[in-house]
Every structure is written in C-alpha cells, then in structure tokens.
Amino acid sequence: MSASGALDHPDAALAAATRAPVEEPGRRERAAGVMQRGGAWIVLVLLLIIGAIVFPDFATSANFRNIAIQSSFLALAAIGMTFVIVGAGIDLSVGSMLALGGVLGAYGSQWGSAGALGLPIVACAALGLVNGMLVGRFRMAPFIVTLASLLGVRGIVLAISDEGDNTFTVEDAVFFSSLGKDTLLGIGYPVYIAIFAFAAAAVVLNRTRFGQSVFAVGGNEDSARLMGVPVTRVTVTLYVISATLAGLAGALLTARSGSGVPKIGEGFELLAIAAVVIGGTLLSGGAGTLGGTLAGVLLLGVIQNFINQIPNLNASYQSLVSGLFLVVVVVVQTYLSREQRL
C-alpha cells in the first residue's frame, strides 16, 4: 500500500516514525501512486475530451447511451473477473459461460421469464461451482482448470444447440425481453443492472468479511489459512460469482437481441481480463479495485466507439488498438508500481 497519507494520518505517521530512517514519500512516488490507482480514469477523461474535439458525433447523449449499453455486458463479466483475479486466480471460461447463458436464456424462455433468467443463472453457477471445486478443493491451477472449462462449456453450448446449427429465439417472456430491450430515462436496463452490480460488488469486496477474505487469500493463501480464513470456501465462491455474472450477461444479451447465438463470446474472457488489468488490478492477486475495472471496461468501450466513428476502419483495427493500448498500460503500470515501492 502507498504511504501517501503519512503526513496527515496519525497512525501512518507513527508507523513511518518507527521505521528506521524516516523517508517521506516524495512527490514523484505520490504522483505514481495516484496514477496507478486513478490512471485508468485519467486516461478515460482524456479520451473523452479528445473524442469530443475530434469526432462531431461523439459527445452526444445518443452516443454515450450507446457506449453504456454496449459496455454493460462486458462490465458484468469484468466484475466477476475482478473478484477472481483479486483472489489470485483467473477465469478463462467466461466467454463460454456467456454463450451458455445466452443460449439457455433463449431456451428457457419457453417457461416464461423465470425460466429465461433462472436456467442460465443456475446452470452457470453450477459450472462455476465445478471450476471452484477443482481450483479450491482439489488445488489445481486455475489457468488450466478454466481453460478446460472454456472447451467443455463451449461443447455443452454446441450440444444444446444441435452443434451450433440451432439458434433459439426468445418466446413469450415479456419481462425477460424488456430487461434487455426497454429503457428508463432513455437508458437501457442492462446499464442499470451493470451499475447496480458494480455498487453491490464494491460493497461486498470492500465492506464485508467475505471481501476481506478475498484480499487475504489473494495476498497469501498460506497466511490466510493460518489466520483462519476459510480459503477453500472463499475460492469456490469466487468462481461461482464469476460464472454466474457471465451467464447473466449472456442472458441479458439474448434478451436484447431476441435470440441465443451459440457462437458469441469467443475471446470475451480476454476482453474481461484486459479490462481488469487496465483498471490497475495486478494479476498477482491481493489487490485491486472495482472502480478501476469500471474505468477499464469504459476505456475499451470508448476505443471501440472511436474505431466505429472513423469510416474505413473495421473491427481488426479495434483489436489492434486495444491490444497495443493494453501493452502500453501494463508497461506504464509496472514502472509506476516500481516507483512506489522504491
């Protein structure tokens, strides 16, 4: 943690005084700390200003609504990914979970809105439980476990949809469809759901015992266990949260488009990880903020919007720019966190 508050906080000042040679944090280190924590927001504001100047159609409320609704699905998955990464794990299966949520949402709509929402959430939570048990209980590497479920869950999606040939459409689920399509004050429901999820997740991560346990497990699993943190249960819960949110995102996507497409979500896990990393959360675990993740999601959304604003540029440029952007961000972050530590 940074010592930027050492001068005005009595406890921190005491702690600083007990350290052998007292070193006040210099301006450089403090600036580095601010940049690392708030960097994504600063870049986001800069991009918004640039966009407003360069593109005539950028700073309109219609366009902002557009960015918000397109980002809301990634936002849900990125919340779950933040939890998992703070707990020193990784979840590569969210793209497949998104597809499963989408297909099951459409499939479940034959039993009304309850089926359309309930089926994907229950199924994805159950598969998340499998991921979590393999990682937490059987102590297997999260990367390889979720890599396997990336494959396996996509297989399940294909099995449900006749090898991907059958695209289910949403039928007689009025409430479910309205969740995806309707708007309140001109803003789509998925945006509200994503905002609510962020608020709830921030409370859980920062203000509850479970949230503190996640930080403890991510920081040092052995120490956490010695402190009496139920490491296994916490780890399992992380993967259930991630899978459930990804499934919910898929279901909402289906509610919006009216059909469950089996092919969606390929590479989605990478976008979610990128958003978390851009937001300043380190993959080594034990640290991270949901605010940063939100900024990361919005940054990716704004980049996509920029590319869309420029005629002649297609999705290939979008991945080129997003990828290079990710590289630049992590390089800057790595240097900044080094600056802080020195």
Binding site: G155, Y317, S319, L320
Partner: protein, 321 residues
C-alpha cells in the same frame, strides 16, 4: 531433471503415482492406439496416419516453443496471433520470391517474440498479460495487413512445402520432427537448456547465481515466436491460402494443453520435450478417435476438457512430492 526421491514409508504408493505421472501420457497414447487398431476401421492405413501427422505438425511446432516458455514459469498466449501475422505477410512478399516471404514471416515472429521477451524480462510484466496484449493486437494487425481477406497461394515452392513428401513422409511432418529434435537436444545437452529450467525453478536464485536471466528469457520468447511463425508458414502452405482470420485461432490453448498433458507443470522448473510431442499427438488422436466414431464436436470438446482436467489432477501432487 527432477528425479523424485520418495520417502520410504509410503514408497509403494508414491512410486506408483510417480510412475503414472512420468509415463501416463505415453501409456494413454499407446492404449489409444491399440484401441483404434482394434475398433477403428482404416486406422492403420498409411493415408490416415499421414493425415493425422500432417494435421498435428503445426501444433507440435508451436507446443515446443510453448514448452520452453512454460519451463521458465511463463506462458505465451500470443502464438496463435503470431501464426496469423506470419500467414498474412506471406502473400504480401511472395512477389520477391518464396524464401524472402518465408524470411519476412520468420522475422515477424522473431520481432513479436522479442516484444514479449522484453515485456517479461526487462519491464517485468507478468507473462499472461504481456502476451495477452500481443494476442489481441497481433490478430488485429494480421487482419489489417491482409485486409481481412483470404488470399490463395500459387507459388510452387511453398505449395510443395505443404503437400509434398520425402520418402513418403510429408515435409511438414519432417519439419516438426526436426524442430522436436533440436529443442530436445537444446534442453538436454546445452547450458541454455539448464538455464531455462533453472529460471523456472527459481528466478531469484538464478539471478543470485549469476545466470543471464534476462537474456535467457528473451531467447526463450523469441524462440517461441519464431517457432509459431514457422508453424504459421507451414499451415499456410498446407492450406494453399493465407487466411489470417482463422489460422492459429485458439491454437495457444491446444499448445498449452499439449505441454501440460505431456507432463510439464505450469509452475515451471521442469520441461519434457518428448512428453510435449506425445501430448500433442495424444490430443490429436483423441479428437480423431471421437470423430471416427461419429461423436459430434460438442461431445468431443467435453471429453477433451475432462481429459485435460484428469491429466492435471494426476500431476498435481508433483509440486509437493
């Protein structure tokens, strides 16, 4: 290599476990071949064997680079995109002759590997994040270069690389076998190979021991990049077209799977070259077996996932043993 010395009390069980961990992939491979010989029609036909080997050749080549990276406790997610960049560059430079095109493609792989290596070893970015950036950017770059289009290749030299054989063995398979031999030799018999394993075992200890850690990591990622570009060239030659949107798609996952199933732990410090090759062959054979017995793609994926989990589960106690 880590020759596990087991404590006497539980030696019988531990020894059995160790034996399975060391040779499980070979046992599974042989068992699957016997199963196919017995139950799959035309399995032993030369044409079928050749087809399987040709299909697996690019995966083997990429997996060899991946094995080196994983041995250093790293991971390279960008290999599929490197293949795509190599494939996209070939038709652009074929006008200067096939060898120039191949050279440019390999140079692109070298450059991308060097970027990965610099990010990991000099800047100190975590390997997953560093190579994730190039996974996303590389595919975009390839599509931008190729204008998102598939381009047919008519150059006879390249086509012959993809479809001709030498004494009945396709060139692509010979390339993969050659790469495996070279990597196997490097890992077992050179100082560089020992350094790779040492860095994976403990990077800090390697630094303290005075090993050239940065240089070695750079070399490892560059090797992975060049091998991936080579695989991209082979895949393009075999496809007789440059298709940057699909070439190497998700191949990083197949390569990681081959390495892990082959007995190289993701935690580094250990590398098994023959295991990696057999791991790639095993996964190919599993898929071929499932297809030959008319199982749909969906079940094939679920079964593959289960096999990956089982393989890792068996190896999981290696770290504590």
């Amino acid at each position: 290599m880590a020759e596990a010395v087991m404590a006497p009390p539980q030696s019988a069980r531990a020894a059995r476990l160790g034996w399975i961990q060391d040779r499980g992939v070979y046992v599974a491979f042989v068992a699957l071949i016997l199963f196919n010989l017995a139950f799959t029609e035309n399995f032993a036909a030369v044409s079928n064997l050749r087809l399987q080997l040709v299909q697996v050749a690019p995966i083997v080549i990429v997996s060899l680079g991946m094995a080196l990276v994983i041995a250093t406790e790293g991971i390279d997610l960008s290999v599929g995109s490197v293949m795509a960049v190599a494939a996209a560059l070939i038709p652009l430079y074929l006008g200067y002759g096939p060898w120039v095109a191949v050279g440019v493609a390999l140079a692109a792989g070298l450059t991308m590997g060097a970027i990965n290596g610099a990010l990991v070893s000099v800047v100190g970015v975590q390997p997953i994040v560093a190579t994730l950036g190039l996974l996303v950017a590389g595919r975009g770059f390839a599509l931008v270069m190729a204008d998102g289009q598939l381009k047919t290749i008519r150059n006879p030299t390249l086509l012959s690389l993809g479809s001709d054989s030498f004494i009945g063995i396709p060139y692509t398979v010979l390339c993969a076998a050659g790469a495996a031999l070279v990597v196997g030799f490097v890992v077992r018999r050179t100082v560089f190979g020992r350094r790779v394993v040492a860095i994976g075992g403990s990077r800090q200890a390697s630094v303290l021991a005075g090993l050239p850690v940065r240089r070695t990591l750079m070399t490892v990622y560059i090797t992975a990049g060049v091998l991936a570009a080579f695989a991209g060239i082979i895949a393009t030659a075999r496809l007789q077209a440059s298709d940057p949107s699909s070439v190497g798609q998700l191949l990083e996952l197949s390569a990681i799977t081959a390495v892990v199933v082959g007995g190289t732990p993701l935690t580094g410090g250990r590398v098994r070259v023959i295991g990696t090759v057999v791991g790639a062959l095993l996964m190919q054979l599993i898929r071929a077996t499932l297809i030959a017995h008319d199982l749909p793609d969906s079940s094939a994926r679920v079964i593959e996932a289960a096999i990956i989990v089982a393989a890792v589960y068996i190896q999981r106690q290696r770290g504590s043993a």
